[in-house]
Subunit: 468 residues, 2 copies
């Protein structure tokens, strides 16, 4: 049943055995309809894709067959396939990124997360012990809603030292992950039918958050050269957007970076048209050759930029600590909403992060991590060179943004590659209009070097063999 990791291997086999045993015992008879994928997933309390893969294996072994749009049926004994069926699995649809991420695969190119083996787990465990020595009652107390004061002061000094920008600890809110920041901003500043600008493509969680808020979404193009500022100005003038959510540094999914002059111009447009800029900057420290341009917020002199920075992605995703820098004029309303939402992030996590952040080990870790990720990126690109696909080599971040030939569509291809234990994210997941069929995001950060090479070869082979 393939070389999956243990638990998932177990689950596929369970589905396979569950069905095969019933057929063997004649509980389910020839040409009888099997439970739907959804039914069996619920019954066995496993993910639908696990059932799908179990069924697929049973089909490969000629134990069951499928009728398109009808369902799966018990195959006649000793027979081959008797009915026409389509190659695309029926009754199953991947609706969200988490449907993909929850699918167990050997070659994971869908997770824009860093391989846990590259993270400073042992060091962090030391810091946890230190935190308990320093603050024996850290678990007995709530943090301030806005976040631990010591952490806010430390991060303020860091930003001042990095960018020499004026900043006060009262402008910072500590978040449980930067996605929480996008959600807070949406709850605080967006009413249904307000217009929001998003890049095309954009971060899928941001698309979901603004859509679920009932916002009207207008997309702004992002290319290897950056934005078309005329387009942005026209949209700001015409649609009066309440905010523009952007990810200008090693952009997810494309890896593109907006140059400094465009950042300055954008801030001026934001002021002129009173459009809030929400700058998400999770990959700022993941650069390969040279540091990226300064964040957009450092050019803002008129309180029009909210800055979201997640450090935890490359230290410890499990801590869920991120920070929001916010103009003084906007902070109170954001704190009020944060107070309603969860009344503040857990203090323990903030203190662990603080002490690691303050240590010289962080810099050492980052230096090593950049090299490791660059190597992985190069392995992926070396394999891609054997394909007829296109991409722009990014100078940082975790992802490649790939264009396959126009006649292909990556969304149906995903079902096919998942069957081969390879995951990626189709372009449509990053497009508010659910378009971009010939694109996909491949993350090189999560899978180790050996599997990167093997998986990429399988992926290219699998997709290239698809008929026109």
């Amino acid at each position: 049943v393939g070389n999956f990791n243990n638990k998932e291997d177990f689950l596929f086999n369970q589905v396979y055995d569950y069905v095969a045993n019933r057929i063997d015992r004649n509980e389910w008879k020839e040409h009888e309809k099997l439970p739907s994928i959804r039914q069996l997933a619920q019954e066995l309390n496993i993910h639908r894709l696990t059932v799908l893969k179990g069924y697929q294996l049973l089909k490969n072994d000629n134990r069951i067959y499928v009728k398109d749009k009808v369902g799966y049926f018990v195959e006649s004994k000793g027979k081959g396939i008797i009915d026409d069926y389509s190659e695309t699995p029926p009754f199953f649809h991947i609706n969200s990124l988490s449907d993909i991420q929850q699918t167990p695969v050997e070659y994971n190119f869908s997770q824009a997360l860093i391989d846990p083996n590259l993270l400073p787990n042992q060091y962090l465990s030391d810091y946890v012990k230190k935190v308990f020595d320093l603050y024996p009652k850290v678990l007995a107390t709530y943090s301030h809603v806005q976040g631990d004061e010591e952490l806010r002061e430390t991060l303020t000094s860091y930003f001042i030292q990095q960018y020499k920008a004026f900043l006060h600890p009262n402008q910072l809110i500590i978040l449980s992950g930067s996605q929480q920041g996008i959600h807070l901003i949406s709850q605080t500043f967006i009413k249904p039918r307000d217009t929001v600008l998003l890049e095309k493509p954009s971060y899928s969680a941001a698309i979901d958050i603004f859509k679920s808020r009932g916002a009207r979404i207008i997309t702004v193009d992002i290319t290897p050269d950056g934005y078309d500022l005329n387009q942005i100005e026209q949209y700001m003038r015409t649609y009066k957007p309440r905010l523009f959510y952007l990810n200008p540094t090693f952009h997810n999914p494309t890896g593109y970076t907006i140059p400094t002059d465009q950042r300055k111009e954008l801030v001026q447009l934001a002021e002129q048209y009173q459009c809030l800029l929400v700058e998400d900057d999770p990959y700022h420290d993941i650069y390969f050759d040279m540091k990226p341009p300064q964040p957009v917020y450092t050019f803002d002199a008129s309180s029009n930029v909210i800055y979201l920075r997640s450090f935890c992605k490359y230290i410890s995703p499990g801590l869920r600590v991120a920070v929001m820098i916010c103009p003084t004029t906007l902070i109170d309303s954001l704190i009020s909403v944060k107070a309603l939402t969860d009344n503040g992030a857990p203090l323990l996590n903030q203190k662990i992060f603080l002490h690691y952040f303050l240590s010289p080990r962080l810099q050492q870790h980052l230096d090593k991590l950049r090299i490791a990720l660059q190597i992985r990126k190069e392995i992926m690109e070396r394999e891609l060179a054997h394909s007829d696909w296109h991409w722009n080599s990014p100078h940082g971040g975790l992802n490649l943004w790939i264009k396959v030939p126009e006649y292909l569509s990556t969304e149906p291809l995903l079902y096919q590659t998942l069957m081969n234990s390879i995951s990626f994210v189709p372009g449509s997941f990053f497009d508010p209009d659910k378009n971009l069929p010939a694109w996909m995001r491949l993350s090189y950060s999560y899978t180790n070097e050996a599997n990167l090479q093997k998986g990429m070869r399988k992926l290219i082979q699998s997709i290239s063999s698809t008929n026109r």
Copy 2:
């Protein structure tokens, strides 16, 4: 400057010295207007009440005086007070519970939290180390949005064993505190202008959450005998509420407990009128004589109750782990909203909680805690016996719900007691209609025994000396 804790003591003195020095150096001259409380608070980056108390001390020392509705002024040297002024502090208003909680006081009766000295801090620190040995990569991974599987399975077994109710781990969502659960429910099920039933009085955060969602709030009376079920039925019939948020066990703030027969009837009403019951149960394990009745959700056979249980209040508020039990029919929509909000609680916190929860130390801790809290409650009640105030002695929970004579109003009294370094929460904070002027909540859980006695004496004296 009084016997405050160190940091706050420092802050008052800082305000005092800051102002006094400028007056001494003649930078601020006789009868010159001082910065407003808000200005100085911002300038010194401290809470407004700290400034207020600093000014109050300066006024007591005849260094400054106040003109009602105008501001504070530098007193003429060597003189007494020269202008009329009102005794109520100007330009300052306590708007929220957090305004009270952030006020440094010696006698804290406003925090419905357990004294950190009563919490198992040392033990928890041991469990943290254990967690890192067991899961060395706990900080490198995200938890599932719904919560760690191992924790959900453990809690499921616990609830089944406690109540013999059917329950599946897929019905549980792990929350970052039970308040997050209320917020999730409000986001998921309430549209603006939907009707929501709340008890009168009710938990202030719940009032804020449903109000901010734009819900129309109808209040249901809660008395020492429980609910008036005729009233509830009438409201359900008339107003078709989407949900009823209730806290039926050692209710906050009153301490009242709804009897079992009413719980059963309520579930039937909920089914009949298709009104969701949201049962918040943070004090379930804090009982003094005997266990409280079974939760309302255990009587529900028709998927009409969502149950919120926080364990962390009496283990470790800083962990921020709570659980929601939810009918299968409602869970998917709640998980979707949770995914948008913060994409899941931090895994570390869930694992620490899990291992403490599984240990026999939890039961030992609870046994001791109940005794300690009962002693504190009795000290508070012994002092109250010397007043002409009324209350019902609760059988669990953290609070007494006190009625002072009708001619008094607890909200203005709060300013007066805060000046005497005593905090409590006025009744109006628990009333969606901002009424209940003759009531207040006194929490006996946060202040140690010696200060409980001293503080209660001061409080009773201070309020009883107020003129009719």
